[in-house]
């Protein structure tokens, strides 16, 4: 049975974390001798030059992407999200799953859930809003240091080592998708969760840098969908590859993207701004549950008032 990448890295970091020198590694390996003998471990050299203990005969674990690969994206892919507003009942599972997966402090959200009503006569509906990963992104153009970038697979990501925190991208984004680290982060999740230190996860947080929804590229590399999509009880979110013309929801149902958008009159939010979002919405028609505010409706999770979303707890 092959190791997961998380597990592999955890083992590797355990072994190398103490590696002040070769002796330390050796002691560590000696201490684990029984376990090693049981599993027939051996020492291997990782691409970034570290010695790690791996089971004998295990296939080579997936290599973490290099910085160049992170900026280029996953080859041959064109990620796309579809949100079915007819199915969304405002439970807020996507928001909390995202918070958990990305260790998001309580003062901000990467995916936000709004109660929306287009005009006084029309019915209200729930509106989850992640980053739209626009194909013509206003944010990446204005970044003076090239810290935020558009990848070939459609994702717009932020390299928070490069970010100087000018917040031009935040001012330029018409969808208010981006959030800022106003103060020093209270915790570094990479200390408690070694697996969080993926190059594409935007962790650890750094004071004075911008962050936002990233479509979970670490999941995508493992062939999994973003956390919000997988967590959706109502299967209201679809995720997939435009090149394959296929999107999948949390229930495992896979549909043709073009046909879904055609049959259900899919649209993009504020499409007339010309940013070409990669997130499509399906109108809230034929709902099978009460609309927000009706008797029996789920209360959902109201977003925090904007004025109060500043500063860490």
């Amino acid at each position: 049975m092959s190791m997961g990448r998380r597990e592999f890295l955890r083992t590797g970091l355990l072994a190398t974390g103490a590696a002040a020198g070769g002796v330390a590694v050796k002691e560590r390996l000696v201490a684990d001798r029984e376990e090693a003998a049981e599993k027939k471990m051996t020492v291997a050299l990782t691409p970034d030059g570290q010695l790690v203990a791996v089971p004998v005969g295990a296939p080579a674990p997936p290599r973490p992407p290099t910085p160049a690969e992170v900026r280029r994206g996953i080859p041959g892919r064109k990620w796309v999200m579809v949100i079915d507003l007819a199915k969304c009942d405002g439970c807020g599972e996507c928001v909390s799953a995202c918070r958990k997966a990305h260790f998001i402090p309580t003062d901000r959200e990467w995916i936000r859930l709004y109660k929306k009503q287009d005009s006084p006569e029309t019915a209200p509906y729930w509106f989850p809003k992640p980053c739209f990963h626009c194909d013509d992104p206003p944010c990446t153009k204005v970044c003076p240091v090239g810290a935020t970038f558009k990848r070939e697979d459609g994702l717009v990501l932020i390299d928070n080592l490069r970010c100087i925190g000018c917040r031009f991208c935040m001012a330029a984004c018409p969808f208010s998708a981006r959030v800022f680290n106003w103060s020093r982060p209270s915790e570094d999740p990479t200390e408690t969760r070694p697996g969080a230190a993926e190059p594409e996860a935007g962790l650890p947080r750094r004071v004075g840098t911008v962050e936002k929804c990233d479509f979970c590229p670490d999941n995508l590399r493992q062939g999994k969908m973003p956390h919000c999509v997988m967590s959706c009880d109502m299967a209201a979110m679809y995720f997939g590859d435009e090149n394959e013309d296929a999107v999948t929801d949390s229930a495992g149902e896979t549909l043709r993207l073009a046909q879904l958008l055609r049959d259900r009159a899919g649209y993009r939010h504020l499409d007339d701004l010309g940013t070409s979002p990669r997130v499509y919405y399906l109108p809230p028609s034929n709902r099978r549950f009460p609309a927000p505010g009706e008797a029996g409706a789920r209360t959902g999770k109201e977003p925090a008032p904007p004025g109060e979303t500043r500063g860490l707890e």
């Binding site: 003076p144 031009f168 935040m170 330029a172 208010s176 004075g208 010309g274």
Partner: protein, 452 residues
């Protein structure tokens, strides 16, 4: 005998009197009032740096940002100061090329103001960014990390525009000072003599030196002239290039340039009206000069009036509900008072200057100049911060409440600017001695008809 009307552009003093009166402002012992002023400015500067230190230590959360308002007091104050830095070069370079005679008495003070205002403005991009210690990443230079700035970003153009402007305007100021420093050198003794001798760069007043000097001054004036228009155009594109309602306007470049010159002349008036009294230069900077400054204010203020009207017209005419909402909220939204402060202080108050009586009334001009300073700060506040309060996601609109960290930096920036200016006017000729002298009419031999 024919009575020739006195040309108000011509000084009434002799050459010796001009030198005496200007050099006296430097050689006289500083009064107690001067020390109090300089001390106050120094304390405010200290406040600026202490607040900056707090921002470094605790992060920008100390300032009153509230999403989606990501650019607020610091960028507002940045544009305010960079705008003030435009009047100086207009008066010293453009009016020089146009052979405008009234600039001579006021150009040195406006030029010094320009350099110090740009120095103040240059602090703000650093204060504003989240990781202030990395500000040098904005500067393109070959480095081991292969980190090259993004030349598509208007913020990048800003860096080029402002550093060029600071270089050219300070060179212009220093070159223009050389003959005057030599004049001061000849009237002081001791260590001051050594200092001014070094700064005078060996100026003797030889013919060849004057020839080189006047050429250099002309070329620098020609070099500085396009910058008056380009720098603030580039600053305006920081906003106009994005699609935020209230920012995304094609009129922004001329609109900002006119506003910059308007605000700069406002600040000039605020500075030189008290200064000419304190330094006893009332016979050099006269009602004639103020009349002309006021006409320039009226001209640029009227351009602003037009631009304000055009912004509202375009918002209505565009049919774009976001644009319309933004402008509706400027006048009638939660911050209506800021919107009206901008319109009243800039568009309306400047129209008073149609009257000659007001243009030559120095106390009235001083009061108007204070209105201009307040109005132009609020103009930037309304355009920058208030446009961000209502962008495309209505359910994520916000309101902004500036904190002590915002106000301390704003007050401190006045201290930093004021400290430089205070030190300058007491140590360097605040009126250009040599240019005033050039304006003194030539002595003429009396004609035989008059001599009888």
């Amino acid at each position: 005998m024919a009575v020739i009307a006195h040309d108000p552009s011509m000084p009434t003093q002799t050459h010796a009197e001009v030198t005496r009166d200007v050099v006296r402002t430097i050689t006289d012992k500083p009064t107690r009032g001067y020390y109090i002023l300089a001390g106050t400015m120094a304390m405010l500067t200290l406040l600026l740096f202490i607040t900056f230190g707090a921002l470094l230590k605790y992060g920008l959360g100390l300032a009153g940002y509230a999403p989606p308002i990501m650019w607020a007091v610091y960028i507002t104050t940045f544009v305010f100061w960079i705008g003030i830095g435009h009047a100086g070069t207009l008066i010293s370079a453009i009016l020089y090329l146009f052979r405008s005679r009234w600039r001579t008495a006021v150009y040195r003070s406006t030029e010094a103001m320009t350099v110090f205002a740009v120095m103040t403005a240059a602090l703000f991009p650093i204060i504003h960014i989240g990781r202030q210690w990395l500000f040098y990443w904005l500067i393109p230079y070959p480095n081991q990390r292969y980190l090259w700035p993004n030349f598509k970003s208007p913020l990048m153009w800003d860096v080029f525009a402002i550093s060029t402007y600071l270089t050219v305007s300070s060179t212009f100021l220093v070159i223009g000072l050389v003959p005057d420093i030599a004049a001061v050198r000849d009237h002081v003794s001791g260590w001051k003599k050594k200092l001014y001798s070094a700064l005078a760069l060996g100026w003797t007043g030889a013919d060849s030196q004057w020839r080189h000097y006047t050429r250099a001054y002309l070329y620098l004036a020609a070099l500085a002239t396009p910058l008056v228009l380009s720098v603030h155009s580039v600053v305006s594109w920081d906003f106009a290039m994005s699609i935020i309602p209230g920012w995304h306007g094609t009129i922004f470049a001329p609109y900002f340039v006119a506003g910059a010159i308007y605000s700069g002349i406002g600040m000039v008036l605020t500075l030189i009206i008290p200064l000419r009294k304190v330094l006893g230069l009332e016979h050099m900077i006269t009602a004639y000069h103020f009349d002309n400054l006021a006409k320039l204010t009226l001209f640029t203020g009227s351009i602003l009036f037009y631009a304000y009207g055009m912004e509202y017209f375009i918002a209505w005419y565009s049919g774009n509900p976001f644009e319309q909402t933004t402008f509706w909220r400027r006048a009638f939204g939660p911050n209506w008072w800021a919107g009206w402060t901008m319109i009243i202080c800039n568009a309306f108050v400047s129209q008073l200057l149609w009257f000659k009586k007001i243009r030559v009334n120095i106390p009235a001009l001083f009061v108007i100049s204070i209105f201009i300073n307040i109005g132009m700060w609020f103009e930037r506040w309304v355009i920058i911060a208030m446009s961000l309060t209502n962008d495309y996601i209505p359910y994520a609109w916000g309101q902004i409440n500036p904190t002590w960290a915002d106000w301390c930096i704003l007050a401190g920036s006045f201290g930093w600017f004021g400290l430089w200016f205070t030190l300058f006017y007491k140590n360097f000729p605040i009126v250009a001695i040599q240019e005033i002298k050039e304006m003194i009419p030539m002595g003429r031999r009396k004609s035989p008809a008059e001599a009888h």
